[in-house]
Homo-oligomer: 175 residues x 2
């Protein structure tokens, strides 16, 4: 029954509390859950595909007070953003390396929901894992959730993993 | 990383085309997919929990032309319904036995969406797998889908597995 490993795409993002390079609680949770409940001891049977989608606006926000005097300043900014995203991916790649599970990781920019679905189409993983903050019905109206959109629109099976109660910060929007 | 096996609940139903004891295309697909992509060769790492929810109205429909002359006739009917449901479960239990994966299977009556979510609460599987006909947006309005409801409301991670294109009957509502 072995052969080609099962390719698991995992969409990861940074913590809204600690920022880069820290992974969000829901990303870490989704990853650890997948290792524990699906990969288990069968490390050669699976391959992780980590995708981090950077939201251009969100990143730009930190740079409101920066001064841009030349085209190179923008180039530097772009490089710094990339570096931050790569540091996030490094966390997951290192963890896989420790455990001995194959992986690949890459960065994209854009709207996470749209990019994740496009990347699923392009890369065709066996399934997609997305972490979810598991916020309530009321808040969801305003916040929107990437996980719900992907579960509906991604062209592969999708598993949504919520944070546990004891991992959830006081403000549910934090991650 | 081993220890207690990962408990996978799988909600299964009968074929709308062939009736009992045949499993629906989407149930079979969800099961085979889980074996192939998640269980793989690690048969001792997983345990299947098969739940079949019988819809009382749906079963009664076959008996429109039956004559009920005594309370025992109703009892017979109920026993026959149970027997049909058990035959469906037998298919999945046999398949697990062949492969060497542990399993349990049981019947419930009621509204599938509601009963599945209640059983998840009671049994607390590691995750739930539901098959889906994968019907389009337009038809979904009228048909409703058990998979969508469970993905939203079940208190565990849920993975929805759609039928493949070549398995899908001409009328998408058939299963």
């Amino acid at each position: 029954m072995e052969g080609e490993p099962t390719r698991i795409m995992l969409a990861v993002n940074q913590s809204t509390i600690k920022g880069y390079p820290h992974a969000s609680i829901s990303s870490s949770r989704a990853f650890e859950w997948t290792l524990q409940k699906i990969v288990r001891s069968n490390t050669s049977g699976f391959k992780f595909l980590f995708l981090h989608v950077q939201v251009p606006d969100e990143d730009g926000f930190d740079d409101v007070d920066s001064i841009f005097a030349s085209p190179d300043d923008f180039k530097d900014l772009k490089q710094r953003d990339n570096a931050r995203g790569l540091q996030l991916l490094e966390f997951f790649v290192n963890r896989c390396h420790e455990i001995g599970v194959a992986c690949e990781a890459w960065l994209k920019k854009g709207d996470p929901t749209e990019v994740i679905c496009l990347e699923v189409k392009r890369v065709q993983p066996d399934f997609l894992v997305v972490g979810s903050r598991g916020i309530g019905r009321f808040k969801r109206v305003f916040v929107g959730t990437v996980s719900e959109f992907c579960a509906k629109h991604a062209e592969c099976p999708v598993i949504t993993v919520k944070r546990t109660v004891d991992e959830t910060p006081e403000d549910h929007v934090d991650d």
